[in-house]
């Protein structure tokens, strides 16, 4: 009886902690999901998949890395594995309706800017997306390296290659 009560209390605490973590990192999770969203993988589906995986993994999180690092890892991996189910997903992705809901309505210039952002992102490979996402999130090379699993030097090299790729894409688009 007492054991059951203790177990229930432990579960309640865990659930409460989980909710706090999600509220703290809700924007981070959303930003990761927008990076990987496509017509076949709507942003809110990715968001929910990530929330589920955080719930599943949270009891095992032992604080060996920073909580934010762990959240990025789970979110990126959740989005990548979600794509795994969609083997026939198109290579080039369009902005989906749900993301458009978050675009500013009042300014065409702002809207165009965000569309441009998604257009460029959608043409990157999954690993490139994760690196560029963390770079935009102002993570340092060591943190990117810890989340992605590349050495810090390789992260720097990759970022330079992505820069080149983006430049080429931009040129192609202008032509």
């Amino acid at each position: 009886m007492k054991q059951n009560e203790e177990r229930r209390m432990a579960t309640d605490i865990l659930e409460q902690q989980y909710k706090e973590v999600i509220h703290t990192y809700k924007l981070v999770i959303f930003r990761v999901c927008t990076m990987y969203a496509s017509e076949k993988a709507p942003v809110m589906d990715l968001y929910q998949e990530t929330l589920i995986n955080i719930w599943k993994g949270y009891p095992k999180f032992r604080g060996e890395s920073k909580l934010s690092t762990w959240i990025y890892r789970v979110a990126i991996n959740s989005c990548i594995t979600f794509m795994r189910k969609e083997r026939n997903a198109p290579e080039y992705v369009h902005i989906n309706e749900q993301i458009e809901n978050y675009l500013p309505q009042e300014s065409d210039e702002k809207k165009e800017m965000l569309k441009q952002l998604y257009r460029m992102i959608s043409k990157l490979e999954p690993l490139e997306k994760s690196i560029i996402l963390l770079y935009l999130e102002e993570k340092n090379y060591d943190e990117i390296s810890e989340i992605v699993g590349l050495s810090s030097t390789n992260v720097g090299t990759k970022i330079n290659r992505i820069k080149e790729k983006l430049k080429k894409m931009n040129k192609k688009e202008q032509n």
């Binding site: 659930e15 909710k19 924007l27 959303f30 719930w55 095992k60 762990w70 441009q116 590349l150 820069k163």
Partner: protein, 209 residues
């Protein structure tokens, strides 16, 4: 301003736009938690079913070998019939054992894909391996279909039929085999394994409690 600066500017703009958005409420989070708990219980049942199916396949395969080694030599049948049985029974038994081994390998591989532990690079590598496996699986199924058709052509004396009869046989066999091996296999074996993997973490947690 280079492309990365442009991206950064747009990224900051996105941040500003979503600052005050409420993506999920406490009630929705509670629903997710409750649904995960229910799913965990369902996966216990599915795991039991999977074990039953594995045992069943093992039993059928063992029975086939027993028939081949013990019963067949004592049966009264023509020489051709005996040769056919000697070829057919190992073919089906090997198919069952091979299929089961492949499923177990896939199941173990899926278990190792831990989204909360693996670095992104490792996860991408695993996905690429998984895709290759899926392609090989389809290739293996296609090869098996042709082997089976060839075997049946001989076992069922189809070669003695008219040309039209033989064409009808091949067309019908191909459609039927493709349906059986791909759709039924995917639905009955692959999808439950995938679901089990999805909920394995909860299973572990249940076991700890």
């Amino acid at each position: 301003m280079d492309e990365l600066d442009q991206l950064k500017k747009s990224w900051n703009l996105l941040n500003e736009e979503i600052q005050d958005k409420e993506f999920v409420t406490n009630e929705q989070l509670q629903e997710i938690i409750n649904s995960c708990k229910k799913q965990a219980q369902r996966s216990v049942n599915r795991l039991n079913k999977f074990q039953m199916v594995s045992l069943g396949i093992g039993f059928v395969a063992s029975l086939s070998f027993i028939i081949l080694c013990v019963v067949l030599p004592q049966m009264e049948m023509s020489n051709t019939g005996r040769i056919k049985a000697i070829v057919a029974i190992p073919f089906f038994a090997l198919t069952l054992v091979g299929g089961m081994y492949w499923d177990l390998k896939t199941y173990r591989f899926l278990l190792s894909m831990k989204v909360d532990e693996l670095p992104v690079l490792d996860m991408i590598r695993k996905i690429q391996i998984f895709r290759k496996w899926a392609q090989r699986e389809v290739m293996a199924i296609i090869i098996w279909i042709f082997l089976f058709m060839g075997l049946y052509y001989w076992l069922g004396d189809v070669y003695q039929q008219s040309l039209v009869g033989q064409i009808v046989f091949f067309a019908f066999s191909f459609v039927l085999d493709a349906f059986m091996l791909y759709f039924i296999y995917k639905k009955l074996v692959f999808n439950p394994i995938h679901d089990i993997k999805q909920n394995m973490d909860e299973l572990n947690r249940l076991a700890q409690e």
